[in-house]
Amino acid sequence: MNAIDVKLPAALASECEGRRHLNLDLPAEATLRDVLDAVEGAHPRLGRRLRDEAGRLRRYVNVYIGDEESRRLQGLDTPVEGRPVQILPSIAGGA
């Protein structure tokens, strides 16, 4: 098992009782999808803020694994390998 630190944006903290970090214990081979499944299982509303009903990451939600944005890696299939996961709203949203 790996302990994975998931850092949340302030804009979603209230979905986790105000916390900015979630600490997850997941199998060593866990992917980003597994991380987000675990987040959604514990906090359903937070989960659907991040992904749509087809399980796709919302367009303007960025998830970093270590220092790399997940879309530049293997997306949701990226093995997390114990690295910290940071969720950030992208620089979008209209004027």
Binding site: A10, A11, L12, A13, S14, E15, P44, R45, R48, R49, L50, D52, E53, A54, R56, R58, Y60, V61, P89, S90, A92, G93, G94
Partner: protein
Amino acid sequence: MAYLVLIGTRKGLFTATSDDREHWALKGPHSLDTDGFTAVSEIFATAADPATGQILVAAESPHFGPSVWRSDDLAATWHEPDAAPMAFPQDLPYRPLDYSETAGVDQPESDRANTVKRVWQLAFGPQDGRVWAGVEPTSLWRSDDGGRTFAFNRALWDHPQHTTWASGGAGPAVHTIVTDPADPDHLMIAMSSGGIYETHDDGDTWNGVTKGITVDYGPDPEPESGHCIHKVARTADGTWIAQSHGPVWRTTEPGSGWTNVSATLPSDFGFAVVAHPTEPGTAMVWPVQAAMDRFPPDRRIAAWRTTDHGDTWHPWGTGLPTDPYFGNVMRDGACTDAATDPGWYFGTRCGDVWAATDTGARWHLVAAHLPDVLCVRAMETPA
């Protein structure tokens, strides 16, 4: 008496309250969620049930997606279900948002899935707990628990004419739902583009009812389906008025055909139609100069009223600006509060909202300089 107006804008929900419908107290933008991102989210749909005071609001965050919030205390507090109020079944075959889109080419294979993009319409039904939702992509959803969970209407989705439905400028959506207090199984919906569909069996079967409505945006001037309908309303005696992407139409029996009733309007283009809740054959529209000239006629904002089922229309109400004005009233940017002396309300894309009572016939400013107004709903609040 007290009155509440719900104003959905490009950035958040505003509310206004009044005892006389002349002087208004404005609040907002409301934070529906506890983190506050809905204060800058788009509000395309809201609904108020004067019988219970319940309010529903659909907000769409560009970052965090769409959801539906409920208030049982006149917009003081808000509640959102943990699970998504509506979610497409993922075993449903993928349907491109627009049939001009080439599936798998314009849309990467990995992105092909039916997902709720936007809630365009919320409407309380006469049944206890019933709420209908019109959604993009073009679909209809039904709730029997007051808007907490919604079920997807497969019969409409599978309608044989769905291949003629497409995306207008605003997106492919069911944007109009008209319920029937006298017949809970009867429902009329409209979409842009697609047409007008009617059910008499609570959504089990649907009939297209656009006979007689002509178009100038396709080779067939009177297609069976594929019309761009902007809004439909039913007047107090059961006559229907429809504002299309072109003329305003009337019918007493939707299945038998529609008649153009635009002759005395300053233009035949526009978006909103609102019916008087009790006066037969009475309705209002807010004309727009033309499809290719989308400003109010003569650049003056005005509501036009008929009292004879559309045979004649005339500008109604004093008090509106006489200076040039460039904001249109969108599909759901107007309503009545259905009070005994009905209040009429409309908001514009310039962020101004006006109210007038039927007997007063004078428009009073409810709010000014808001973000552009997408929807307006009002009610006399329960005692």
